[in-house]
Each structure stands twice: as structure tokens, then as C-alpha cells.
């Protein structure tokens, strides 16, 4: 027996949250590449990982399947694509706002990167102006380039002394 879906597939898929940064939906994070319905009614969702080894990918797949089943879509296929590679520029404006509200400094927008030629090595860590998401002070320092998840770095505010996470630009 076929019943009408409770929620259209795109809306359901867009509402799934990131397992490691649950203040963001997969749409906010920019990892949702497509939601299509195949000829036989199967919902095909395409996602892309943030980092090659992102351990959250399996959870995202499971969550998408659960959410879509709950929304009345019986046949769901989650596909992964790597190209074009995700970058932090894919995080939406709404996503950046939600990160800041949750105390996580959003990444800068890098814009298009020049193609070709060796990737330059900078021996001095680029001093990005990352404002403290808690007190707003501009004077913050990086304590570790690598944080609790693949996509975050650790920083500390020199003004309010609070540590915070920063979604690092890639």
C-alpha cells in the first residue's frame, strides 16, 4: 500500500543535523549535494564528506535514512560524492550565524583559490582575525590547529580568557 509521504524528501533531508556539530543541519554545513527521486520512487540523497576521514559520515547516512523513513519515504539510498571537494565556503550564512550563537567561531570565506603551482608554505602561522564568539573581543590566539573534530581548531580569547573552537578554513 502506498501512502503519501508526510514531508517532502528535500525538507526532511535538509533538517538532519550534523552529528558532531548539532547546531547545524546538513544543509547549513553544505554537505548535502542533492535530493532526488528515482523512477521507482527511491529517494536518492547525495552527501559529501568535510574531511576524507570524517567519522561522522556513517552517522549522517544512518540519520538521513531514519529521518526519511520517518517522513514516509520507504526506499532511501544515500550516496557519497567527493567531487567537487567540500570547503568551508560551502557553509551557509545561516550556518555561520548558528555556529557563532553556539560559541563556535565560524570560518572566513576564502573565495576561489588559484589553481596550479606549488602550495606555498608559510612558516609563520597566519594571524587570522578570529573574534571571540563569547565576548566579541578581537584579541584571540590559536592554541591548537587541530581540535576535537576534524574541522575545528582550538583558540583562546585573551580578553575573557575563555577557550573556544574555530571551524578552520579549508
Amino acid at each position: 500500500m502506498v501512502t503519501a509521504p508526510l514531508l517532502d524528501a528535500r525538507t526532511a533531508a535538509e533538517g538532519v543535523v550534523d552529528p558532531e556539530m548539532p547546531m547545524l543541519t546538513l544543509a547549513d554545513l553544505g554537505v548535502l549535494r542533492g535530493v532526488d527521486t528515482a523512477g521507482d520512487g527511491t529517494v536518492v540523497v547525495t552527501i559529501t564528506p568535510t574531511y576524507s576521514g570524517c567519522p561522522a559520515l556513517d552517522e549522517m547516512r544512518a540519520d538521513l535514512r531514519r529521518k526519511l523513513h520517518a517522513a514516509g519515504h520507504e526506499r532511501v539510498e544515500v550516496r557519497t560524492t567527493f567531487s567537487p571537494p567540500w570547503s568551508t565556503d560551502w557553509i551557509s550564512d545561516a550556518g555561520r550565524r548558528k555556529l557563532a550563537e553556539a560559541g563556535v567561531a565560524p570560518p572566513d570565506r576564502l573565495g576561489p583559490r588559484p589553481a596550479g603551482g606549488p602550495v606555498p608554505l608559510t612558516l609563520v602561522a597566519p594571524s587570522r582575525a578570529v573574534a571571540c564568539p563569547r565576548c566579541g573581543a578581537p584579541d584571540t590566539e590559536e592554541t591548537s590547529r587541530f581540535g576535537p573534530t576534524a574541522c575545528t581548531a582550538l583558540r583562546r580569547c585573551r580578553s575573557c580568557a575563555e577557550p573556544f573552537e574555530h571551524v578552520k578554513e579549508i
Binding site: 574531511y51 531514519r66 567531487s83 587541530f146
Partner: protein, 329 residues
Amino acid sequence: MHSHDDTNPAEHDDNVYDALATADDDGRWAFGTGFDAGTAEIDAPAPEGVDRDDLAAYCLMLADDALIASQRLAGWTAKAPELEEDVALANIALDLLGQARVLLSRAGHLGAAEPFRAGPWDAQRSGAGRLRQDDEDVLTYFRDDRAFRNVTLVETDLGDFGRTIAWILLLSSWRLALMQRLTASRDPVIAAVAGKAVKELTYHRDYAAQWTLRLGDGTELSHARMQAGLDAVWPFVEELFLPHDVERRLADVGVAVDPAELRAEVDAVLEQVLPVATLTRPERPAVGLVGGQRHRRSWGGRDGVHTESLGTVLAVMQSLARAHPEATW
């Protein structure tokens, strides 16, 4: 990939273990996480005019470099000098593992895993209807040392933190130069992995370069240990630039890169970093390469000829999966 139709853990706030206990009916193999199914690029055919076995072998080379390096780095977990470094090394290991998994799946799609499914540990032989292990898992857990194609640098003992930093500096400088060129590979999987890897490796190289400066231009002791670390890994560097026949053939058809092309770029990084770090570029002969044969590979990991260190790495990585070949959870 096995379906995962448990209820939402968020609805079980009272006891998170409920969510685990109600997981799949069909069980997951304890050592695998399932990746190859449902990945768009992996199923693509080999590009026209490209030998399928060569392409599989090349994917294994790129995958094994990352897999074994990742396993080595994971050995630092919970042992690094500071918590931040522990997290950093584990992050680098995770990025490399991610690169390896896609490439192993690609190699498996091209047939590389089939010869290794027939071992006594193969789950399919003993139980009807048991899980079919994914290609990436078969290639990781059930190949013996001679079947691994990684360069020997990645299997070497990481020693102390100084040697580890020298190892990451050389490995990431080389792999970054390689991956940047491979973004133009005619193989869609290699190109896609490279596109992500370039961003990740840029962070790895920055991390290593900054620690090289701090240790090299630090105290007398840190300088001595950083120099000793660089000296220790140096004999394994020459191999990075020696092309294997598979690499040469695939470079000719626009899939691979001849690693000899990478030397200048790696040298430029070293010339930038070492003087500022007050370190001396070592002058030590390459391991296993006979003098006068510098342009001919007589020995090396790409041919499956490894140092004894690989045995240690594989023992740690594979023994549990082999001891419990049908374990599920």
C-alpha cells in the same frame, strides 16, 4: 554498508546504551565500517586506454602510503608530549586513513581484493549468509607484507617526537606535491581524493614545519633531537622519488605522476625550513640503494619488499581481525 535502522539516539536520552543495543538486526563486522557501497566515483570504470591491473596497483600504492602512515601515527594516541599534540597527530592519522579508505575501495572495485578473500579467516567460507567483508577491510586486514605497496618511509618506527616531526615534514611535503598534481588525474577517484587531500596535507605540512622550527631553533637538546630525527629518516627519502614501472606507465596515460618530478618541490620546502630551523640537510646514503644505481630501483616498498618494521605495524593492525574473523557487533 549495513543498514542501521535503530531508533534515534536522541529519543533515548535516559539511556544512551539502549540505542546501541537496538542497533541492526543484520550485524556489522566488528572491524569494518563499510564505505565502498554508494560512493559515486568509486564505481566508475577505468579511464579509456588505462590498464585495469595497473590502475588497481597504483591505487594500492597511494592507499598503502596513507594507511600505514596512519597506523604509525595512531601509535602516538594517548602518548604525545601534550594533549594538543595528541589530538593533532590523531587528526593527521584520521585524514590519512580517510584517503586510504577511498583508494582501497577503488582498488577493490578494480579487483585487487579478490585474491585475499580466500584465506582461512574469510568469513564467507565458514558461514552461509555471513557478512561479505568490504574490499577496503579485506585489503587492510588480510594481505600479508609482500602485498603492501607503500614506500618504506611510512612503515619506519617514529621514534621520539623530533623524529616524528621530521617524518611528517618529509611525508607531507612529498605527498602534497604528489596530490596536487594528481588533482588532474584522468582517474576520477584519484582526482577526487587528491582534491581533498591537498587541503588536508597543507595543514599537516604546516604543523610539521612549525614544530621543526620550534625544536630546531629551540634549546640545545631540542635542536639535537630534531637533527637526529631528520638524520634517522633521511635514508628513506630517496625512495620517494624513484618511479616504479606502474607509475611510469600510468604517468604516460595521464593517470599517475612520475615521482621523480616531485624532488624539486620537496627540496624547495626543505631549503625554506631547514636554515631557519638551524638544521643541517643530512648527507646519508639511501637505504637499500646501491651506489651508482640511483636512477634504478633495485629494492623498495612499491615492489612489496619492505623493512622489518612493516611486520610490527601489520601485527598490531591485523592480529585482532584475524583472530576473530567473524566477530560482529
